[in-house]
Protein backbone atom coordinates (compact mmCIF):
# COMPACT_ATOMS: atom_id res chain seq x y z
CA UNK A 1 0.00 0.00 0.00
CA UNK A 2 2.75 2.45 0.91
CA UNK A 3 6.29 2.14 -0.37
CA UNK A 4 8.87 4.66 0.70
CA UNK A 5 12.13 4.27 -1.18
CA UNK A 6 15.48 5.93 -0.70
CA UNK A 7 13.81 8.94 0.93
CA UNK A 8 15.97 11.82 2.15
CA UNK A 9 14.50 14.94 3.74
CA UNK A 10 15.87 18.06 5.37
CA UNK A 11 14.77 21.43 6.69
CA UNK A 12 17.16 23.57 4.71
CA UNK A 13 20.45 22.89 6.45
CA UNK A 14 21.27 19.30 5.53
CA UNK A 15 19.11 16.20 5.61
CA UNK A 16 17.63 14.77 8.79
CA UNK A 17 16.33 11.62 7.08
CA UNK A 18 18.82 9.63 5.04
CA UNK A 19 17.78 7.13 2.33
CA UNK A 20 14.92 5.65 4.27
CA UNK A 21 13.15 2.56 2.87
CA UNK A 22 9.87 1.54 4.46
CA UNK A 23 6.95 -0.51 3.19
CA UNK A 24 3.57 -0.79 4.83
CA UNK A 25 1.15 -3.35 3.50
CA UNK A 26 -2.55 -2.60 3.11
CA UNK A 27 -4.55 -3.06 6.27
CA UNK A 28 -1.52 -3.74 8.46
CA UNK A 29 -0.35 -1.93 11.53
CA UNK A 30 3.20 -0.74 11.11
CA UNK A 31 5.02 0.84 14.00
CA UNK A 32 7.91 3.29 13.70
CA UNK A 33 10.12 3.42 16.77
CA UNK A 34 12.90 5.85 17.45
CA UNK A 35 14.31 8.18 20.06
CA UNK A 36 13.42 11.87 20.17
CA UNK A 37 14.74 13.60 17.09
CA UNK A 38 15.28 10.41 15.12
CA UNK A 39 13.03 11.66 12.32
CA UNK A 40 9.65 9.96 12.79
CA UNK A 41 7.60 13.12 12.46
CA UNK A 42 9.75 14.33 9.57
CA UNK A 43 9.02 11.06 7.77
CA UNK A 44 5.28 11.48 8.31
CA UNK A 45 5.26 15.13 7.29
CA UNK A 46 6.99 14.23 4.06
CA UNK A 47 4.68 11.34 3.28
CA UNK A 48 1.59 13.49 3.75
CA UNK A 49 2.93 16.35 1.65
CA UNK A 50 3.53 18.95 4.36
CA UNK A 51 7.22 19.15 3.50
CA UNK A 52 9.18 18.19 0.39
CA UNK A 53 11.80 15.46 0.20
CA UNK A 54 15.23 16.25 -1.19
CA UNK A 55 15.34 12.89 -2.95
CA UNK A 56 13.60 9.54 -3.03
CA UNK A 57 10.11 8.40 -3.72
CA UNK A 58 6.83 7.81 -1.89
CA UNK A 59 4.27 5.57 -3.47
CA UNK A 60 0.79 5.23 -2.03
CA UNK A 61 -1.94 2.96 -3.33
CA UNK A 62 -0.08 2.39 -6.59
CA UNK A 63 0.51 6.08 -7.27
CA UNK A 64 3.63 8.21 -6.98
CA UNK A 65 2.71 10.90 -4.42
CA UNK A 66 6.21 12.24 -3.80
CA UNK A 67 5.40 15.66 -5.26
CA UNK A 68 1.67 15.71 -4.47
CA UNK A 69 0.00 18.33 -2.30
CA UNK A 70 -1.47 17.39 1.05
CA UNK A 71 -4.99 17.83 -0.31
CA UNK A 72 -4.38 15.34 -3.12
CA UNK A 73 -2.83 12.87 -0.70
CA UNK A 74 -5.78 12.95 1.72
CA UNK A 75 -8.07 12.53 -1.23
CA UNK A 76 -6.17 9.39 -2.24
CA UNK A 77 -6.90 7.95 1.19
CA UNK A 78 -3.93 8.71 3.40
CA UNK A 79 -4.87 10.59 6.57
CA UNK A 80 -2.35 12.03 9.01
CA UNK A 81 -3.08 12.65 12.66
CA UNK A 82 -0.10 14.80 13.55
CA UNK A 83 2.05 15.10 16.62
CA UNK A 84 0.63 17.89 18.77
CA UNK A 85 -2.83 17.23 17.28
CA UNK A 86 -3.21 20.54 15.41
CA UNK A 87 -6.93 20.83 16.09
CA UNK A 88 -8.94 23.97 15.36
CA UNK A 89 -9.08 25.00 19.01
CA UNK A 90 -11.85 27.61 18.87
CA UNK A 91 -14.21 25.46 16.80
CA UNK A 92 -16.57 22.93 18.27
CA UNK A 93 -15.67 19.26 18.35
CA UNK A 94 -18.25 18.55 15.68
CA UNK A 95 -16.94 21.29 13.38
CA UNK A 96 -13.46 19.86 13.76
CA UNK A 97 -14.76 16.46 12.78
CA UNK A 98 -16.79 17.83 9.88
CA UNK A 99 -13.76 19.65 8.54
CA UNK A 100 -11.99 16.29 8.65
CA UNK A 101 -14.41 15.28 5.92
CA UNK A 102 -13.46 18.35 3.87
CA UNK A 103 -12.27 16.40 0.83
CA UNK A 104 -15.27 14.08 0.84
CA UNK A 105 -17.86 16.67 1.89
CA UNK A 106 -20.03 16.32 -1.22
CA UNK A 107 -21.12 12.80 -0.25
CA UNK A 108 -23.38 13.88 2.60
CA UNK A 109 -24.67 10.42 3.43
CA UNK A 110 -21.14 9.06 3.72
CA UNK A 111 -20.12 11.96 5.96
CA UNK A 112 -23.06 11.17 8.28
CA UNK A 113 -21.99 7.54 8.49
CA UNK A 114 -18.40 8.52 9.19
CA UNK A 115 -19.51 10.91 11.92
CA UNK A 116 -21.56 8.17 13.54
CA UNK A 117 -18.59 5.79 13.32
CA UNK A 118 -16.40 8.38 15.04
CA UNK A 119 -18.88 8.86 17.89
CA UNK A 120 -19.16 5.10 18.27
CA UNK A 121 -15.41 4.80 18.49
CA UNK A 122 -15.15 7.67 20.98
CA UNK A 123 -18.47 7.94 22.83
CA UNK A 124 -16.95 10.58 25.12
CA UNK A 125 -16.94 12.99 22.18
CA UNK A 126 -20.66 12.77 21.61
CA UNK A 127 -21.43 14.64 24.85
CA UNK A 128 -18.79 17.23 24.07
CA UNK A 129 -19.75 17.74 20.44
CA UNK A 130 -20.68 21.40 20.91
CA UNK A 131 -17.77 22.36 23.14
CA UNK A 132 -14.76 24.04 21.64
CA UNK A 133 -11.99 21.57 20.92
CA UNK A 134 -9.45 23.65 22.80
CA UNK A 135 -11.42 23.30 26.03
CA UNK A 136 -11.21 19.49 26.16
CA UNK A 137 -8.76 17.39 28.15
CA UNK A 138 -5.64 16.13 26.41
CA UNK A 139 -7.06 12.66 25.95
CA UNK A 140 -10.30 13.95 24.49
CA UNK A 141 -8.38 16.25 22.17
CA UNK A 142 -6.39 13.27 20.95
CA UNK A 143 -9.65 11.48 20.25
CA UNK A 144 -10.88 14.48 18.25
CA UNK A 145 -7.61 14.46 16.30
CA UNK A 146 -7.89 10.77 15.47
CA UNK A 147 -11.57 11.18 14.71
CA UNK A 148 -10.91 14.11 12.41
CA UNK A 149 -8.34 12.09 10.48
CA UNK A 150 -10.81 9.21 10.19
CA UNK A 151 -13.49 11.51 8.83
CA UNK A 152 -11.59 11.68 5.53
CA UNK A 153 -12.47 8.00 5.09
CA UNK A 154 -8.85 6.89 4.74
CA UNK A 155 -7.36 3.62 3.56
CA UNK A 156 -4.39 4.27 5.76
CA UNK A 157 -4.00 6.37 8.88
CA UNK A 158 -0.77 7.87 10.14
CA UNK A 159 -0.68 8.41 13.90
CA UNK A 160 2.19 10.42 15.29
CA UNK A 161 2.65 9.68 18.99
CA UNK A 162 -1.04 9.61 19.89
CA UNK A 163 -0.28 8.72 23.52
CA UNK A 164 2.00 11.67 24.13
CA UNK A 165 1.23 13.31 27.44
CA UNK A 166 -1.71 11.04 28.26
CA UNK A 167 -2.34 9.17 31.50
CA UNK A 168 -1.84 5.36 31.29
CA UNK A 169 -5.57 4.66 31.44
CA UNK A 170 -6.34 7.07 28.60
CA UNK A 171 -3.40 5.71 26.61
CA UNK A 172 -4.96 2.28 26.90
CA UNK A 173 -8.27 3.64 25.55
CA UNK A 174 -6.48 5.26 22.63
CA UNK A 175 -4.64 2.03 21.86
CA UNK A 176 -7.90 0.08 21.98
CA UNK A 177 -9.36 2.55 19.50
CA UNK A 178 -6.34 2.13 17.22
CA UNK A 179 -6.79 -1.63 17.25
CA UNK A 180 -10.47 -1.14 16.46
CA UNK A 181 -9.67 1.13 13.54
CA UNK A 182 -7.14 -1.36 12.20
CA UNK A 183 -9.64 -4.19 12.49
CA UNK A 184 -11.96 -2.26 10.21
CA UNK A 185 -9.34 -2.78 7.52
CA UNK A 186 -7.71 0.65 7.74
CA UNK A 187 -3.93 0.43 7.57
CA UNK A 188 -2.16 2.19 10.43
CA UNK A 189 1.30 3.66 10.62
CA UNK A 190 2.09 4.48 14.20
CA UNK A 191 4.98 6.35 15.78
CA UNK A 192 5.27 5.67 19.48
CA UNK A 193 7.54 6.24 22.44
CA UNK A 194 5.55 3.59 24.19
CA UNK A 195 7.34 0.77 22.33
CA UNK A 196 6.03 -2.11 24.40
CA UNK A 197 2.35 -1.38 23.81
CA UNK A 198 2.97 -0.44 20.21
CA UNK A 199 4.81 -3.65 19.34
CA UNK A 200 2.04 -5.64 21.00
CA UNK A 201 -0.57 -4.38 18.55
CA UNK A 202 1.66 -3.99 15.47
CA UNK A 203 2.28 -6.39 12.60
CA UNK A 204 5.68 -5.08 11.67
CA UNK A 205 8.00 -2.35 12.74
CA UNK A 206 10.93 -0.16 11.88
CA UNK A 207 13.46 1.42 14.16
CA UNK A 208 14.84 4.83 13.20
CA UNK A 209 18.02 6.27 14.63
CA UNK A 210 19.41 9.62 13.53
CA UNK A 211 17.33 9.57 10.39
CA UNK A 212 18.24 6.06 9.24
CA UNK A 213 16.39 2.78 9.47
CA UNK A 214 18.59 0.66 11.75
CA UNK A 215 16.28 -2.30 12.31
CA UNK A 216 13.13 -3.67 10.81
CA UNK A 217 11.04 -6.78 10.89
CA UNK A 218 7.95 -8.44 12.26
CA UNK A 219 6.73 -6.81 15.44
CA UNK A 220 7.17 -9.98 17.48
CA UNK A 221 10.78 -10.36 16.32
CA UNK A 222 11.52 -6.74 17.15
CA UNK A 223 10.06 -7.20 20.62
CA UNK A 224 12.51 -10.10 21.15
CA UNK A 225 15.46 -8.29 19.67
CA UNK A 226 18.02 -7.54 22.41
CA UNK A 227 18.94 -4.19 20.87
CA UNK A 228 15.32 -3.06 20.85
CA UNK A 229 14.76 -4.43 24.33
CA UNK A 230 17.68 -2.52 25.67
CA UNK A 231 16.92 0.76 23.94
CA UNK A 232 13.13 0.92 24.09
CA UNK A 233 11.71 -1.71 26.35
CA UNK A 234 13.92 -1.07 29.33
CA UNK A 235 14.81 -4.72 29.74
Amino acid sequence: MMTISDLSVGYGAGDVLHSVDITAAAGELTVILGANGSGKSTLFRTVSGLIRSSSGRVEFDGEDVTRSRSAAIVRRGLAHCPEGRHLFPRMSVEKNLMLGAYVGRRDRARVRTLLERTYELFPALQDKSHQSAGSLSGGQQQMVAIGRALMSDPKMLILDEPSMGLAPLITQQVFDAIVGINQEGIGVMLAEQNARSALKIATSGYVLAEGRVVLSGAAADLADNPAVQQAYLGV
Binding site: S48, G49, L50, R69, S70, A71, V74, R75, A79, H80, P82, R85, H86, L87, F88, P89, R90, M91, K95, M98, L99, G100, Y102, V103, R105, R148, A149, S152
Partner: protein, 288 residues
Protein backbone atom coordinates in the same frame (compact mmCIF):
# COMPACT_ATOMS: atom_id res chain seq x y z
CA UNK B 1 -33.62 63.92 22.32
CA UNK B 2 -34.07 64.34 18.55
CA UNK B 3 -30.42 65.35 18.34
CA UNK B 4 -29.50 62.19 20.21
CA UNK B 5 -31.55 59.97 17.88
CA UNK B 6 -30.05 61.71 14.88
CA UNK B 7 -26.54 61.14 16.18
CA UNK B 8 -27.38 57.57 17.13
CA UNK B 9 -28.28 56.83 13.53
CA UNK B 10 -25.22 58.72 12.30
CA UNK B 11 -23.17 56.55 14.63
CA UNK B 12 -24.80 53.39 13.32
CA UNK B 13 -24.13 54.46 9.73
CA UNK B 14 -20.52 55.29 10.45
CA UNK B 15 -20.22 52.08 12.43
CA UNK B 16 -21.48 50.09 9.46
CA UNK B 17 -18.84 51.66 7.23
CA UNK B 18 -16.10 51.03 9.78
CA UNK B 19 -17.22 47.42 10.34
CA UNK B 20 -17.10 46.49 6.68
CA UNK B 21 -13.68 48.03 6.26
CA UNK B 22 -12.39 46.56 9.52
CA UNK B 23 -13.61 43.03 8.80
CA UNK B 24 -11.70 43.07 5.52
CA UNK B 25 -8.56 44.04 7.34
CA UNK B 26 -8.99 41.59 10.19
CA UNK B 27 -9.66 38.68 7.80
CA UNK B 28 -6.41 39.21 5.95
CA UNK B 29 -4.62 39.57 9.25
CA UNK B 30 -6.15 36.35 10.56
CA UNK B 31 -5.27 34.26 7.53
CA UNK B 32 -2.01 35.81 6.37
CA UNK B 33 -0.74 37.06 9.72
CA UNK B 34 0.24 40.54 8.60
CA UNK B 35 -1.55 43.90 8.51
CA UNK B 36 -2.40 45.15 5.04
CA UNK B 37 -1.22 48.73 5.26
CA UNK B 38 -2.71 49.41 1.82
CA UNK B 39 -6.23 48.80 3.14
CA UNK B 40 -7.04 52.53 3.31
CA UNK B 41 -5.77 53.00 -0.24
CA UNK B 42 -8.03 50.18 -1.40
CA UNK B 43 -10.93 51.93 0.31
CA UNK B 44 -10.11 54.95 -1.82
CA UNK B 45 -9.87 52.87 -5.01
CA UNK B 46 -13.23 51.32 -4.15
CA UNK B 47 -14.72 54.80 -3.84
CA UNK B 48 -13.34 55.96 -7.19
CA UNK B 49 -14.38 52.79 -9.00
CA UNK B 50 -17.92 53.18 -7.66
CA UNK B 51 -17.87 56.82 -8.73
CA UNK B 52 -16.87 55.93 -12.30
CA UNK B 53 -19.44 53.15 -12.56
CA UNK B 54 -22.16 55.43 -11.26
CA UNK B 55 -21.30 58.73 -12.93
CA UNK B 56 -19.46 57.76 -16.12
CA UNK B 57 -20.95 54.37 -16.90
CA UNK B 58 -24.34 55.33 -15.55
CA UNK B 59 -25.14 52.21 -13.57
CA UNK B 60 -27.76 52.41 -10.82
CA UNK B 61 -26.22 53.04 -7.40
CA UNK B 62 -26.60 49.56 -5.91
CA UNK B 63 -25.44 47.88 -9.11
CA UNK B 64 -22.43 50.19 -9.19
CA UNK B 65 -21.48 49.16 -5.66
CA UNK B 66 -21.88 45.47 -6.43
CA UNK B 67 -19.76 45.83 -9.59
CA UNK B 68 -17.13 47.81 -7.72
CA UNK B 69 -17.04 45.05 -5.09
CA UNK B 70 -16.53 42.43 -7.82
CA UNK B 71 -13.80 44.48 -9.51
CA UNK B 72 -12.00 44.93 -6.20
CA UNK B 73 -12.35 41.21 -5.49
CA UNK B 74 -10.58 40.46 -8.76
CA UNK B 75 -7.88 43.00 -7.89
CA UNK B 76 -7.55 41.21 -4.55
CA UNK B 77 -6.89 37.88 -6.25
CA UNK B 78 -4.39 39.48 -8.65
CA UNK B 79 -2.51 41.13 -5.80
CA UNK B 80 -2.41 37.92 -3.83
CA UNK B 81 -0.92 36.01 -6.79
CA UNK B 82 1.43 38.73 -7.94
CA UNK B 83 2.70 40.17 -4.67
CA UNK B 84 1.93 38.12 -1.58
CA UNK B 85 2.10 34.57 -2.91
CA UNK B 86 5.72 34.94 -4.07
CA UNK B 87 6.55 36.24 -0.57
CA UNK B 88 4.95 33.33 1.27
CA UNK B 89 8.20 31.97 2.69
CA UNK B 90 9.58 35.41 3.53
CA UNK B 91 9.32 36.98 6.99
CA UNK B 92 6.21 39.04 7.64
CA UNK B 93 8.09 42.33 7.56
CA UNK B 94 8.49 41.78 3.81
CA UNK B 95 4.72 41.57 3.41
CA UNK B 96 4.25 44.75 5.36
CA UNK B 97 6.80 46.57 3.23
CA UNK B 98 5.04 45.23 0.13
CA UNK B 99 1.70 46.58 1.37
CA UNK B 100 3.25 50.02 1.81
CA UNK B 101 4.45 49.78 -1.80
CA UNK B 102 0.95 48.84 -2.90
CA UNK B 103 -0.43 51.82 -1.00
CA UNK B 104 1.85 54.32 -2.77
CA UNK B 105 1.19 52.63 -6.10
CA UNK B 106 -2.58 52.91 -5.68
CA UNK B 107 -2.50 56.52 -4.56
CA UNK B 108 -0.38 57.48 -7.58
CA UNK B 109 -2.58 55.44 -9.89
CA UNK B 110 -5.71 57.20 -8.67
CA UNK B 111 -4.03 60.59 -9.04
CA UNK B 112 -3.11 59.65 -12.63
CA UNK B 113 -6.59 58.49 -13.58
CA UNK B 114 -8.92 60.73 -11.60
CA UNK B 115 -6.67 63.67 -10.74
CA UNK B 116 -5.61 65.04 -7.36
CA UNK B 117 -8.66 67.19 -6.65
CA UNK B 118 -11.87 66.40 -4.81
CA UNK B 119 -14.76 64.68 -6.53
CA UNK B 120 -18.35 64.81 -5.39
CA UNK B 121 -20.59 61.82 -5.79
CA UNK B 122 -24.24 62.79 -5.51
CA UNK B 123 -26.34 60.50 -3.42
CA UNK B 124 -29.04 58.92 -5.53
CA UNK B 125 -31.09 58.94 -2.35
CA UNK B 126 -30.78 62.58 -1.36
CA UNK B 127 -34.05 62.89 0.50
CA UNK B 128 -34.62 62.95 4.22
CA UNK B 129 -36.69 60.74 6.43
CA UNK B 130 -38.19 61.31 9.82
CA UNK B 131 -37.31 58.70 12.39
CA UNK B 132 -38.80 59.18 15.86
CA UNK B 133 -39.01 62.91 15.26
CA UNK B 134 -35.45 63.26 13.98
CA UNK B 135 -34.56 64.23 10.43
CA UNK B 136 -32.24 61.64 8.92
CA UNK B 137 -30.80 61.67 5.42
CA UNK B 138 -31.98 58.70 3.40
CA UNK B 139 -28.41 57.84 2.41
CA UNK B 140 -27.58 57.16 6.07
CA UNK B 141 -30.54 54.82 6.37
CA UNK B 142 -29.35 53.06 3.20
CA UNK B 143 -25.89 52.72 4.72
CA UNK B 144 -27.23 51.20 7.93
CA UNK B 145 -29.47 48.74 6.10
CA UNK B 146 -26.86 47.70 3.53
CA UNK B 147 -24.18 47.30 6.16
CA UNK B 148 -26.49 45.07 8.23
CA UNK B 149 -27.39 42.92 5.24
CA UNK B 150 -23.75 42.52 4.24
CA UNK B 151 -22.71 41.77 7.84
CA UNK B 152 -25.34 39.06 8.17
CA UNK B 153 -24.49 37.53 4.79
CA UNK B 154 -20.81 37.60 5.66
CA UNK B 155 -21.31 36.01 9.06
CA UNK B 156 -23.37 33.24 7.46
CA UNK B 157 -20.67 32.75 4.83
CA UNK B 158 -17.89 32.56 7.40
CA UNK B 159 -19.68 30.42 9.96
CA UNK B 160 -21.89 28.17 7.85
CA UNK B 161 -20.37 27.66 4.43
CA UNK B 162 -17.52 25.24 3.98
CA UNK B 163 -15.42 27.96 2.31
CA UNK B 164 -15.91 30.27 5.24
CA UNK B 165 -14.98 27.45 7.58
CA UNK B 166 -11.83 26.82 5.59
CA UNK B 167 -10.81 30.45 6.16
CA UNK B 168 -11.36 30.00 9.87
CA UNK B 169 -9.55 26.68 9.89
CA UNK B 170 -6.45 28.26 8.37
CA UNK B 171 -6.60 31.05 10.93
CA UNK B 172 -6.73 28.57 13.77
CA UNK B 173 -4.22 25.98 12.61
CA UNK B 174 -2.42 25.98 9.30
CA UNK B 175 -1.02 22.47 9.62
CA UNK B 176 -4.34 21.05 10.68
CA UNK B 177 -6.02 22.78 7.74
CA UNK B 178 -3.47 21.39 5.27
CA UNK B 179 -3.93 17.90 6.66
CA UNK B 180 -7.69 17.87 6.17
CA UNK B 181 -7.06 18.89 2.56
CA UNK B 182 -7.67 22.64 2.62
CA UNK B 183 -5.59 24.40 -0.01
CA UNK B 184 -3.99 27.43 1.62
CA UNK B 185 -3.47 29.14 -1.75
CA UNK B 186 -7.14 29.04 -2.57
CA UNK B 187 -8.11 30.29 0.88
CA UNK B 188 -5.61 33.07 0.68
CA UNK B 189 -6.97 34.25 -2.69
CA UNK B 190 -10.52 33.99 -1.39
CA UNK B 191 -9.62 36.02 1.71
CA UNK B 192 -8.12 38.82 -0.35
CA UNK B 193 -11.14 38.81 -2.65
CA UNK B 194 -13.60 39.06 0.26
CA UNK B 195 -11.51 41.65 2.06
CA UNK B 196 -11.21 43.91 -0.99
CA UNK B 197 -14.88 43.50 -1.89
CA UNK B 198 -15.90 44.57 1.62
CA UNK B 199 -13.74 47.65 1.60
CA UNK B 200 -15.21 48.58 -1.80
CA UNK B 201 -18.74 48.27 -0.44
CA UNK B 202 -17.88 50.43 2.54
CA UNK B 203 -16.32 53.06 0.26
CA UNK B 204 -19.27 52.99 -2.13
CA UNK B 205 -21.63 53.53 0.78
CA UNK B 206 -19.73 56.41 2.32
CA UNK B 207 -18.85 58.18 -0.95
CA UNK B 208 -22.12 60.15 -1.25
CA UNK B 209 -21.70 61.70 2.21
CA UNK B 210 -18.00 62.43 1.84
CA UNK B 211 -15.86 63.89 -0.89
CA UNK B 212 -13.59 61.61 -2.87
CA UNK B 213 -9.89 62.44 -2.80
CA UNK B 214 -6.69 60.45 -3.14
CA UNK B 215 -6.03 61.01 0.54
CA UNK B 216 -9.43 59.72 1.74
CA UNK B 217 -7.99 56.36 2.77
CA UNK B 218 -5.52 57.70 5.26
CA UNK B 219 -7.77 58.71 8.13
CA UNK B 220 -9.94 55.64 7.59
CA UNK B 221 -6.86 53.45 7.69
CA UNK B 222 -5.88 54.80 11.09
CA UNK B 223 -9.35 54.31 12.55
CA UNK B 224 -9.77 50.84 11.10
CA UNK B 225 -6.46 49.75 12.60
CA UNK B 226 -7.63 51.13 15.93
CA UNK B 227 -10.83 49.07 15.56
CA UNK B 228 -9.18 45.75 14.87
CA UNK B 229 -6.67 46.28 17.65
CA UNK B 230 -9.54 47.18 19.98
CA UNK B 231 -11.60 44.15 18.93
CA UNK B 232 -8.66 41.75 18.97
CA UNK B 233 -6.54 41.12 15.89
CA UNK B 234 -8.11 38.59 13.56
CA UNK B 235 -11.45 38.48 15.40
CA UNK B 236 -14.69 38.85 13.44
CA UNK B 237 -16.97 39.76 16.39
CA UNK B 238 -14.16 42.03 17.57
CA UNK B 239 -14.22 43.95 14.31
CA UNK B 240 -18.00 44.28 14.41
CA UNK B 241 -18.29 45.38 18.02
CA UNK B 242 -15.15 47.50 17.79
CA UNK B 243 -16.46 49.19 14.64
CA UNK B 244 -19.76 50.27 16.17
CA UNK B 245 -18.16 51.14 19.49
CA UNK B 246 -15.54 53.41 17.95
CA UNK B 247 -18.06 55.03 15.60
CA UNK B 248 -20.43 55.79 18.47
CA UNK B 249 -17.63 57.20 20.58
CA UNK B 250 -16.51 59.36 17.68
CA UNK B 251 -19.98 60.66 16.79
CA UNK B 252 -21.12 61.28 20.36
CA UNK B 253 -17.90 62.98 21.43
CA UNK B 254 -17.92 65.26 18.41
CA UNK B 255 -21.58 66.15 18.98
CA UNK B 256 -21.57 66.70 22.71
CA UNK B 257 -17.98 67.83 23.32
CA UNK B 258 -16.32 69.18 20.20
CA UNK B 259 -15.37 68.09 16.70
CA UNK B 260 -11.77 67.58 17.78
CA UNK B 261 -12.91 65.42 20.68
CA UNK B 262 -14.47 63.00 18.18
CA UNK B 263 -11.08 62.13 16.73
CA UNK B 264 -9.50 61.96 20.15
CA UNK B 265 -12.29 59.73 21.49
CA UNK B 266 -11.28 56.94 19.12
CA UNK B 267 -7.83 56.69 20.60
CA UNK B 268 -8.86 57.37 24.18
CA UNK B 269 -11.26 54.41 23.93
CA UNK B 270 -8.52 52.31 22.33
CA UNK B 271 -6.02 53.11 25.06
CA UNK B 272 -8.55 52.49 27.81
CA UNK B 273 -9.47 49.05 26.42
CA UNK B 274 -5.86 48.04 25.84
CA UNK B 275 -4.93 49.09 29.35
CA UNK B 276 -7.53 46.65 30.70
CA UNK B 277 -7.14 43.90 28.11
CA UNK B 278 -3.93 44.19 26.07
CA UNK B 279 -5.03 41.61 23.48
CA UNK B 280 -8.21 43.54 22.62
CA UNK B 281 -11.80 42.60 23.45
CA UNK B 282 -11.85 39.23 21.70
CA UNK B 283 -8.12 38.83 21.25
CA UNK B 284 -6.33 35.60 21.88
CA UNK B 285 -2.60 35.75 22.27
CA UNK B 286 -1.08 34.65 19.00
CA UNK B 287 2.62 34.15 18.73
CA UNK B 288 3.92 33.68 15.23
Amino acid sequence: MTLFIQQLINGLALGGIYCLAAIGLTLVFGVLGFPNLAHGALFMVGGYVTYTLLVDVGLPYVVAIVCAALILAVIGVVFERLIFHPLRHAPHTHHMIATVGVMFFLISLVQEIWGTGFLRMESPFDGRMTVAGAQISTQRIIIVITAMVVLIALTLFLKRSVHGQSIEAIEQDRTGAALVGINANVVSMMTFAVSFALVAISAGLVAPIQLLSPGMGESLSLIVFAIIILGGLGSLPGAIIGGFFIAMAEVMASTYISVGAGQAAVFIVLMAVLAIKPTGIFGTVVQR
